[in-house]
Amino acid sequence: MVQSLDYLKETASQTAGPYVHIGLIPSQAGFDIFENNFTNVLADENTRGERIIIEGRVIDGTGTPLRDALLEIWQANADGRYNHQLDRQKSGKVDEGFRGWGRTGTDFDTAVYRFETIKPGVVSGRNGKDMAPHINFWIVARGINIGLNTRMYFADEQEANAADPVLNLIEQKTRRKTLIADRDDSGSIPVYRFDIILQGDGETVFFDI
């Protein structure tokens, strides 16, 4: 026998279930309870940066879109700074009104999710290597036992994407494109479309972060 290590163990994850909206988006569950609700709108009129919309669906292994998924995003501001004390990058400044986080559910009818935010700047990665602009996603739903982490990159950042240290870790080049959202400039605000494929052909890359 040896001495025991006195670390605690991480609490086990469980599915968010079909009624996750009650706790996290009560208005979508069908009632109003909190004065202040968290939403899918990340930017206000004072936020610096280019306004964008992110839209997409979450699709299961049979090709059916999930109507009960919940998504959260976490991103840097237009200067590439996270609004968090551990971000000590020298360049750029924190945007006080921009938390960088939002949540939404896929629509019960259309199955589409949508965020209104700004395009993030370049963030310094490990060993000082710049990461291409990206948005961190976390997806939970009925049938998902532990939240899935992925990243969305921008199709109009080809050069930065080609040098991105995380995209380049993905061994099969053909899978990298599952993380790159196409840009649609046909409306008044650019829309990036990002479908998340949970399983099968074109399966999105998910990270163990």
Partner: protein, 237 residues
Amino acid sequence: MEFYQRDRTLQPAGYTPIYKTSVARSPRQSLMSLQGSLSEITGPVFGQNELGPLDNDLIRNYAKDGDPIGERIFVHGRVLDENNRPVPNTLVEFWQANAGGRYRHKKDTYLAPIDPNFGGCGRALTDENGYYFFRTIKPGPYPWRNYVNSWRPAHIHFSVFGSGFAQRLITQMYFEGDPLIKECPIVHVIPDEDAINRLIAPIDLKGSVPLDTIAYKFDIVLRGRRSTLFENRLEGN
């Protein structure tokens, strides 16, 4: 700084056929292991000013003309990390069915009635010691379409943030002594018996208010953080 790698032997896999919905909703490719960068070690920060005074009181926060029907309980505990350090000022959200096992959700069609005085959700920020508490009524079990005769044990859903996005966690709390726990496929997607036991809240008579409300204790452990040994630890690790 980075977080300790998640111990996937204690966590449920994606593909767990006893829980049928997981079959089509789990990736078939391996997860790609990614060392933490700023994108993973940082995460959203919330303030007390964003919460209302009744947000952690489910007995009062949706009451229309009286109290909800059911067993009055407190649920309280600490959010800690694997280093046994408190996680202060972190957002904890919770939601649940009413005493009859009915959710206030437009997609729940179970025949047990809605309680007009019960919403079923709340939230709290942990204090400087990682402590949180809320007041509610004990939820009832309810049937679901997995096997023909599947019933969820009484449970409360929890959502916890931690200090970095890599710590983000959703789980479920169960109640000591509930015989449905050992029958539940959702519980048993967790491969480790001790990890299951850590989701079961013991009754806490010392934390109860006599003639008023009984208490359950539920601690939550998030991933611990590492900084390189012998480097300066000015960040407080």
